[in-house]
Point group: C2
Chain length 358, copies 2
Amino acid sequence: MKIPQLKKILREKRLDLALFACIDTEKQNPGMRYFSGYGDVGILVVPQKKKPFLLVPEMQLLTAKRSMVGAIAVKKGTKLLDALKIRIKKYLRRRRIGIDFQETTLFLKKIFAKKIDHAKFLDISKELAELRLTKTKKEISIIRKGCRISDGILRKCLSSLPHMKTESQVRALLESETIKRGCDLAFPPIVASGRNAAEVHHSPENKPLNKGFCIVDFGVKYKGYCTDTSRTFYLGNPSPKEKERYSLVLQVQEQAIANAAIGTRCGRIYDSVVRGLGQYGNFFTHGLGHGVGIKIHELPNLALKSKDKLQEGMVFTVEPGIYLKGMGIRIEDTVLAAKGRPIVFTKFQKKLISIPWY
Amino acid sequence: MKIPQLKKILREKRLDLALFACIDTEKQNPGMRYFSGYGDVGILVVPQKKKPFLLVPEMQLLTAKRSMVGAIAVKKGTKLLDALKIRIKKYLRRRRIGIDFQETTLFLKKIFAKKIDHAKFLDISKELAELRLTKTKKEISIIRKGCRISDGILRKCLSSLPHMKTESQVRALLESETIKRGCDLAFPPIVASGRNAAEVHHSPENKPLNKGFCIVDFGVKYKGYCTDTSRTFYLGNPSPKEKERYSLVLQVQEQAIANAAIGTRCGRIYDSVVRGLGQYGNFFTHGLGHGVGIKIHELPNLALKSKDKLQEGMVFTVEPGIYLKGMGIRIEDTVLAAKGRPIVFTKFQKKLISIPWY
């Protein structure tokens, strides 16, 4: 995606090239994935004036060859960084290299500096995040499809819930349904029932599903792009008070989506949510939402005081919640900022669903 | 684990404190997990002379309170780094702070430097990796248990294989069985059948299971610690040539384990594997193994030319493989370097299993 736009940035910042490296499978480089489609161990080189290419270990060549750019294998016994040194020599004029400070460790920078003499490494993280801030048509259609897949998985989850006993079983179902559909997880799913729902990032160990509200926060990664949905079910019979609280969160969530017009400052949407929650405003303890894309957390940031402004083509979550002692409710959709009204991609129903529970 | 040893390092390097930060759920900090047991968003502060503590966003407090150290919540609207600045003031004498260069991005370091005036940030990644290099009794017993769990999952996988049609189905089964047992994945499982097995890091999309060798490379994360096993099954009837190749890899793998005595240089074990593979030595395209622990790839490095020496208490993989056109075989165990003979933790059978396939 957007290689020409990246080259423009390189020109403007007078950089010879940009480097995106993944030297550890646990530290994926989103820039590499974004510009090449390849996300495993390797280095993506984008020269200002020439074609981009991937340098990968020999054993990764077959995978890399399916990417959007050319791939060169580094022979066993040769270090990736040594190969890089030789391969980029001819592109170095000013010896100015752009790297993503958000995704590069101090350790990797040290090796870069050791291998590439007298080079200056400049931060292009802001420019990269901005490139990814609004999505292309192709990206939007991928995310929309991903949301459709995740809706289907949530329906399957709901129909299986009555037969489940533990939070881990629900999580296992979400995960296996994701993989079966050829997707990956966008993040480890949260399944938090009863008093566990009060814990915003509760991790579902082998705990029984408890009566009360049950938050399911889940997303898939489809063709490299994330989705994010939360629904709160009720196990058992909700009291009138509980129904009322749920309705309040839902109403506030729908109002927040309606408020998410192009040009709106994100902090303002946040403020109106806190106002809308009234006496529960203090029990909304996290951000209202975040951009989604190659990464599950991207720009814009829908946080308190956020100055980010919504632009056409941004894809982000809207996820107010309240967490009291012993209970929690969160409702979240993945939404596209569009002309006219925002478009909600995650369509799984939001009316409170209660499941008989004994 | 090993907080006193970390404090000793701080004393020796004349550091006021060590900082381990996770400001992005996608970038976990293994040091934070290792020393505190907590692995989500937050900052672990380990002063040289005082008790370590965690600073976490308010919404994470319940989770952080279950860690091995004290936890302090940062109120909504206050930035974690601003809270840090105030909280660590009293510990700063020399203004020398230890951080893990392998796990800290240039971006985070920039914020640290902005918030903590006139401080010097020194790399303690080597010392940290060395602390984690040999495992404590407690760690060993956790990893051993994890391996037992992963053996059970592989048995389940084998019994279900005859009913599976695609690689993703096998992967989905591995994942859901992992979660059901209260574990996480150590890494995305590899299921590579037929010609896909030639691709070392093949990612199982929705591809049919093909006749021929089928590599399953899989590990769980149990109580924060990884395991790693590969087995190669045969779908259909292997030819005598194929059986012979499998036997060769198995024989070489077992010999490599037998060679992994305390004091041995890892590069030597690698060399003997290449020799043992004879005419197939050139088709062994990756490292022989790696340490496992909090991270799936730790020290020691059992690579070509590696000078790491095996020490008692190291836990690592031994995983030779050969990859020819259209086929691949890999056999991998997680092993403990121990007095006398190395102890193999992954006990799933290694004799070639062939599964009728039509």
